[in-house]
Symmetry: C2
Subunit: 415 residues, 2 copies
């Protein structure tokens, strides 16, 4: 190890408090996904590079970590969860059920320039329904997306949604050989962050006439929900998504070209840092990736931002320590050591998270370690306590001490 | 994607039933580790290659996945969890508490020859206590190891343990310039699988005299527990480990040279496939890896074998589907669709895992999909049911149908 051990730039260690917060969020997401019938899937970290490259364009290809292994195979690290899932859909076609719903929570790797909030290894969290073109599936996706955040307490989530077909219909009449429909839509996508004047300027810079640029923006301004969106919204409400969380926004375009219908993004008014991820319907992508035609609708949640939002809004319980009790060691006498170990065993058997102090030290020093570890209670069993078949418990925050029977200790710790 | 999409040799997809079984085992292990005060840690998948290489000898170095990234840095994939943890212990020395206990459950990568039960990406599951030389820490480690398996129902676990110091004391008098103490211990380690004659032959082939080889084996035969082991065993029993699960075995040596005291391995009499992992005390390794002297005791559980053992012994519940109910869609009438969605929402709000059939199909086809997905119940809401404010529930295994109010449905599904 070098003198100054370090992590690679763009990569992170998660020390216990952070890791526990991430595990807490993971568990809430998993619980919701499973409540909606989504099944877990895991794919390998490494794949053939040929599977990963050429799927999302040349810019994305530069971000895929690829290398040659000792067998001279060209391999690459997971770049997203959609491409491996497309492989799974084809490879296990006979085993997977109709209307397969899967969730996937794994790390992906991007050889991107690290910057604030952007990492080279980060967690993705995807849910998708495969095989259905029905707006019922779109609504199920909106509902599981909403309730995943609601389960975390982020009930104020606004799902801004739009229809890619509407955008196409609005933009295509203005497309020219120089300015494609997709390019016009990419400019519309910026209306949320930029002023109409800025977007008009961008469109004319691309080659649109001033009149056409103005007309496009006017179309967007007066756009209404498509019948498809009306039905999806209605279904999502029946599934319990509050009306105020479903916000039609004709300016939402989502960057990726592959969407074919519903598109959506989640935002929290209380949290400034932008979209918490989103998704939509992509009925042709799986065919493009795998050669097998399977319609799909789904989303990816920005895991890091979700953890950050839930933390900032005080929705993650105190996880500095999951340990409730440190059982101290009174002295080096066999009876003292045995009592401490036996009490620790009984506490654990009763479901109380417990550590034994693994040394013989002055009690004050043991209290300090409990404090440093953010353990709220210490238990002391000296000769007097042992004789009386009692234990002493001390609440470190207040210094308050109590002499209790073991049963009373359990009651005390549980309340 | 190539015509035959495939995973790399030695890598695995985990489809829902397998992934759910692994998640089930993971959760049981985590619960136990946290009950014993172990805190979760996560380190990056990629590290500087210089951190990973030269740590476990030249043979191991060949198994580390290394490559050059676009920034021409030599990087490598996580090979184990001990080396990154040693880095963490030094890098965050000021932040980590005294007697730090951590668990880590991440995948590691070995460019090994794939064979039955050996993979290139697999999950490791480690627990360690850092900073204590006390046998109390050794006993805590044996106890959390035992209870991790017990939580899964693998209560018949036998922990075979030994003391590396005893082995050293037995072997060193027979060591020669050609046959080191470590080499003699490596031969002793084979006494569990090979006959004494075979091990004697190996020792003489290495260069020991026939008398010396016989004397070594005689020493092993009559070896007794060290005082250190006696104390650890006594403490582990106070912590609730059954006496019959603690088996002194003077032939256990553990392959790795770095152990300095207690060494142990777990086995299940009902499960033939060998050790479920093990560990021991390694008071000098962290210093060798990181330059900072920190005594340590811990273990690594063989995650794949543990899943396999628990599955074989029928200890993992049926996880073919976590979904309890498929709410069918009676027809394409708005009232039918709304009812199905509303009932699905109510079921989910009551904690019942529920899918909505995402299409309008004949009921028989919907039942077939439920069956294919291993969902035990289907709910049907036709016009008659809607009029009577009831729902029909059908148990697919028996064909039994009931007409129930929503509240009665909840009671029925919960029992």
């Amino acid at each position: 190890m070098s003198d100054k051990p370090q992590t690679l730039k763009g990569f992170r260690d998660f020390l216990p408090a952070q890791k526990a917060a991430r595990d807490y969020v993971t568990k809430k997401l998993q619980t919701t996904f499973e409540r909606f019938g989504f099944a877990p899937l895991e794919t390998p970290t490494l794949e053939y590079a040929s599977l990963l490259l050429g799927k999302y364009g040349t810019e994305a290809d530069k971000l895929v970590y690829t290398f040659q292994d000792r067998g001279e195979r060209e391999i690459g690290l997971r770049y997203d969860q959609t491409v491996p899932t497309a492989r799974v859909l084809v490879q296990y076609q006979a085993e997977l059920p109709k209307f397969f719903r899967r969730y996937q929570l794994q790390n992906v790797f991007r050889a991107d320039k690290p910057q604030k909030g952007r990492y080279r290894e980060f967690r993705q969290c995807d849910c998708d329904i495969f095989g259905s073109t029905s707006p019922l599936a779109d609504a199920e996706i909106l509902a599981v997306y909403y309730f995943a955040f609601a389960e975390l307490g982020l009930t104020q989530l606004r799902i801004e949604f739009n229809d890619r077909q509407t955008l196409m219909a609005m933009a295509s009449p203005f497309a020219t050989p120089e300015v494609t429909t997709a390019s016009i839509i990419q400019s519309i996508d910026k209306l949320d962050k930029n002023t109409p004047a800025e977007v008009t300027a961008e469109l004319t810079a691309k080659g649109l006439s001033a009149e056409a640029a103005a007309a496009v923006l006017a179309e967007v301004e007066k756009a209404e929900m498509s019948d498809n969106l009306k039905q999806i919204e209605h279904f999502a409400r029946q599934l319990g998504v509050p009306a105020e969380s479903l916000v039609f926004n004709p300016k939402i375009a989502r960057g990726l070209d592959y969407y074919t219908g519903l598109i959506f993004e989640g935002r929290l008014p209380e949290y400034g840092a932008g979209s918490l991820g989103g998704g939509g319907r992509y009925d042709h992508l799986i065919e493009q990736l795998s050669g097998v035609s399977i319609p799909a609708v789904g989303f990816g949640i920005g895991f890091d931002r979700t953890v950050e939002a839930a933390t900032e809004l005080g929705l993650i319980p105190n996880l500095l320590s999951t340990t409730q009790v440190l059982v101290t060691v009174f002295d080096d006498q066999p009876a003292s050591l045995d009592s401490s170990l036996q009490v620790a065993h009984q506490l654990r058997a009763a479901g109380i998270t417990t550590e034994v102090y693994p040394a013989v030290d002055k009690l004050g020093k043991q209290f300090k370690v409990a404090d440093q570890k953010h353990i709220p209670f210490v238990v002391i069993i000296g000769e007097a306590e042992r004789g009386a078949q009692q234990v002493k418990v001390k609440k470190l925050a207040t210094g308050e001490e109590q002499l209790l029977s073991f049963d009373a200790l359990l009651t005390y710790l549980r309340t």
